[in-house]
């Protein structure tokens, strides 16, 4: 990937939110994109957790990079990522028990989200701490944006509500398919299609 060469914060932002968006360009972190996007509140909390983890683990990896022996590089990165995820899990369990129950195992599974490891390895390992923090955060935000868009459609059509507030009248027949994971496949597919079409029109090289 060429974005290791990008050093300008503005360019990093654009790359992570748009041209190299983790979900619809790199197609990473799809598991959670299917699993936790049927209610906006859950999606919001989950993605905030991912933004926090990506930003903080990139920062930490970058700070520690000169001390990490090459042999155990990936193991240490995983340890750092797991550390932040467990912190998120503990905080949710203590202060937001309902959300924690709804998200179930998916908070723990943030550890395996390829976006976080990808940023640690591809960016933080070879850049300064502040830039790495920014790169991690914007990558997380790119993920968050797409997931919230999917959750918006799924909750609206699947439950007739947004953030738990009823939008459609009582008589509305919910689209059950929207509540179930397969609908996220269709929505991600549509987002990839729309995203790539716009990029193509703008003359960006489509990967």
């Amino acid at each position: 990937m060429s974005d290791t060469a990008v050093k300008d914060p503005g360019a990093i932002l654009k790359t992570n939110l748009w041209t190299s968006n983790p979900i619809f360009v790199q197609v990473l972190g799809i598991c959670s994109a299917l699993a936790v996007t049927n209610l906006l509140t859950n999606t919001m909390i989950m993605t905030v957790g991912v933004v926090f983890t990506t930003a903080m683990s990139s920062l930490t990896v970058s700070l520690m990079k000169s001390f990490i022996p090459r042999k155990v590089r990936m193991v240490v990165q995983t340890l750092i990522i797991a550390f932040y995820v467990i912190i998120v899990d503990i905080v949710l369990r203590a202060y937001l028990p309902e959300v924690s129950r709804n998200l179930g195992p998916y908070v723990g599974l943030i550890i395996t989200n390829c976006i976080i490891m990808g940023r640690a390895e591809a960016f933080a390992q070879s850049n300064g701490p502040i830039l790495s923090f920014w790169d991690g955060m914007t990558s997380g935000l790119g993920y968050m944006g797409v997931l919230l868009a999917i959750a918006f459609v799924r909750e609206l059509l699947g439950f007739g509500s947004l953030f738990g507030m009823r939008i459609f009248p009582e008589g509305f027949t919910p689209w059950t398919i929207m509540v179930m994971p397969p609908s996220a496949f269709f929505l991600i597919g549509l987002i990839v299609w729309v995203g790539k079409t716009i990029m193509h029109r703008q003359g960006e090289p489509v990967t």
Binding site: V72, F83, I86, R93, A94, Y95, G158, V179, M180
Partner: protein
Amino acid sequence: MNKQSLGYTIVFSFIVCFAFVLVLSVTHQATRDQVQLNQELRTKRAVLRALTIEFQNDEEVLELFAEIETVTRDGMELFRLTQDGETRYAGIFGGAGLWGPINITLAVDGSVETIIGLDIIDHNETPGLGGRIDERWFQEQFRGLRLVDGGLQLIRDGNTEGEDGKADAITGATGTSMSMDRILNQTLRDLRSALGGEA
């Protein structure tokens, strides 16, 4: 120092693991009481809801729960509440759902002829289909439901409002409805044999 040497790698890995795990244990210890309280509140809330006792906040939950006696019958832990000369029993029960266990609290009158209320503690049913057992309309139809031959049936067709021993099943969730039917009837049988001695 050679950072690629075996000695450095081992020492480094040890220190890093130790430091991170230490911070985690401290965080875990600091929040342990809160987590335990949350779990306790969850169960207590479910018991109160099954007994159809209204509450506004967590303090009230603890306060109201303090008035309930805990008794053991047939090795079953039950919660007994005597109010206006009527005795009600509630308990925590469970059974197999479609995808995983369903845990409920169920409250009945002293002679196990009427259901006082039902609350779902946790389940893994399909969201939007079987998951609708979480919804109010489903749980409220059991409030004050009189049993027929000591049991009840979840009915697919029509409206069962006002009928004894019958409640509406969930459309599109036959598996979950059948599981609930089975769990409820089993629970009622268990309750009857446990409470049978003291009608």
